[in-house]
Symmetry: C2
Subunit: 151 residues, 2 copies
């Protein structure tokens, strides 16, 4: 989570929502994918941190199956990212802040533990939650202040 938080802080400095993610091989700890949020800079609706980290990891492997890997991300994944976690057969998910507005790993639903789908994932929620949520709160508070100052 240290590295994921570092990536999230770097995203905030670029004006992106501060979310960071890392994919590593569960047994060795070897990182094979990492990313920060990049939606606005790249104009990419799929530019969520965990999404890019998983795609990078699969590319590095030349295989879309990541059963032996763990995803660590500072914010609860949305439906799109939870769907990718299932599609990529990610073995384990660890996340920080819960997302009551869009999270689909426990908040609005749990797509990674749906018995109707062909893969289910063990998820650990709330790891260093305050730090992860704090970054987001500070970012959006700053955004509101800048908007007020500009208007």
């Amino acid at each position: 989570m240290d590295r994921a938080l570092e990536l999230a802080r770097a995203a905030a400095e670029q004006g992106e929502v501060p979310v960071g993610a890392v994919v590593y091989v569960t047994q060795t700890g070897n990182v094979i994918g990492e990313s920060a949020n990049s939606r606005d800079g790249e104009g990419n609706p799929a530019g969520h941190a965990e999404f890019s980290a998983i795609v990078d990891a699969a590319r590095a492997r030349k295989d879309w199956r990541l059963n032996d890997c763990t995803l660590v991300v500072t914010l609860e994944p949305c439906a799109m990212c939870a769907g990718l976690i299932v599609n990529a057969r990610v073995g384990r998910v660890v996340f920080g802040a819960r997302d009551p507005k869009a999270g689909f790993v426990g908040s609005l639903g749990n797509l990674v533990d749906d018995c109707r789908l062909n893969h289910r994932v063990c998820a650990v929620a709330g790891v260093r939650e305050e730090e992860c949520a704090g970054l987001l709160k500070a970012f959006f508070a700053g955004l509101r202040t800048r908007r007020r100052t500009a208007s």
Copy 2:
């Protein structure tokens, strides 16, 4: 749907699951993104046809918002793709075959019409359903025959 079916047929010839997708500007009909399924060839767990078509459309626009666009896809989108449809604010979705095992635009759930999320999409299901489903059935039947012959 003609073009989406054409893309799906081309995917089958490459050994990919035959799904095709097109994104066009609803009012003008101008196509700004299109793709076939490419998961296995590229080792990309996000290589679903409609996913790539939406990302391409956003890139072409240099904007992740596609409110004025329609997505046409031969198969009902999965959770990942339905999540992207919401994240990219796609205006309208038209699809062919229903997917009772993984579809999240009516079959297992409906992520594009969830009042808790910040965008809801009008979806039209079952357009040229038999043709779209027929392509998939023929592809998987061929796969099973080849596997039996090889074993």
